[in-house]
Symmetry: C2
Subunit: 217 residues, 2 copies
Amino acid sequence: MTEPATSDEIREEEAATKAAVLATAERLFALHGFGSVSVRDITAAAGVNLASVNYHFGSKDNLLFEIFKRRTAELNRERARMLHEANDRHAGRPPVREILEALFAPPLRWGAPENPRAISAQFIIRSRSEGTPEMREAIAHDVSHLIRFADALTAARPDLAPEVVYWRLHFALGMVHNNRFIEFDRLHMLSDGATREGDVDSLLQRMLDFAEAGFLA
Amino acid sequence: MTEPATSDEIREEEAATKAAVLATAERLFALHGFGSVSVRDITAAAGVNLASVNYHFGSKDNLLFEIFKRRTAELNRERARMLHEANDRHAGRPPVREILEALFAPPLRWGAPENPRAISAQFIIRSRSEGTPEMREAIAHDVSHLIRFADALTAARPDLAPEVVYWRLHFALGMVHNNRFIEFDRLHMLSDGATREGDVDSLLQRMLDFAEAGFLA
DNA sequence: GTCTATAGATGGATAGAC
DNA sequence: GTCTATCCATCTATAGAC
């Protein structure tokens, strides 16, 4: 690029560099894992300077954490919005299935192959196991977005002991976290292709059938 | 150590070194992750020579794969034995709950805090997300141990379409794979301690309640 | 702000003496 | 077989010129 003349152009170029790093890093991390992708890989693929990661983000770990915070915030906003809509539809007492749908649908729709968000979905899933200590701390301790779901489920099943609801929410989340490429590959290998549909909505319904029944047990 | 005199003593010492490396590597990998643990960390903690890993296993990745093969083989043997016993109890047509118990119980019991196998359980769980390409290939393609479970479940629910059974098996496995320290921590944080029981058998029953209902939907 | 060059640290693997 | 010393690749982070 040629040298920018005005300060507005500098700001634009700076923002463009930062955005390119963010997008490229997210993609490479999602595809190849955090440990396997170096700062050099990112800057080379993004066509920016090697030093720009440290300049804009301080460190590789900070860059990771930055992407993580953005994506989880977006995902949890979508979930909260869907839960809110379910509340509106049912005078503040939605049934189990609609609560679970608000929990399942956003990450599932993100993960759909044709969705550009699929990269972000894989990034978030990887964060759960490959994240930096800072990210793991955030995952383990920041449960604010889950409180509303736990409360809604408790209200929908007042006959269940609270800890039963918490455990079942944990099981339901396990179902979501298992939606990784490698697990799908294994499932398709096991079923000899019978599970190769790729239709996100029918997968969502299958998951809801299973989890809703689990909650009504 | 003093120099061994006879060839028997050499064999013993060699076996002892190899075993020490295996045990120490498994423990460190399980606790800190594959990428964070170096060959130097392992040999230092095991009190053996730096070169012994390459001498006995060829490479770090090979050492990882060796541990992985041993542990998954052991785990799947336990699962197969429990499924076999369930078959015997029910003339070859065990109910869903007992099939799922054979799938859930071994990894759950391994993971119990007081069980020395807890290290191995964490190692296996880490393998699913942090493994080498070789390990991922094995996980995705070696489904032989799951075929019997899929067949048993299909026989127990002949009214369900086969692909439905496969998907639900996938969901049930997701529940198992979610049993990681970080997820438990998060659950305990969310429930404000209400889920802190540590009783493996009651957790097993909770999981079976949920998954059995999911299969009967 | 960008970029080159390089510091500084770490890790996997191996040669060669014993 | 064991062990020390070392090679060599790789990575993050930064100093300093522009």
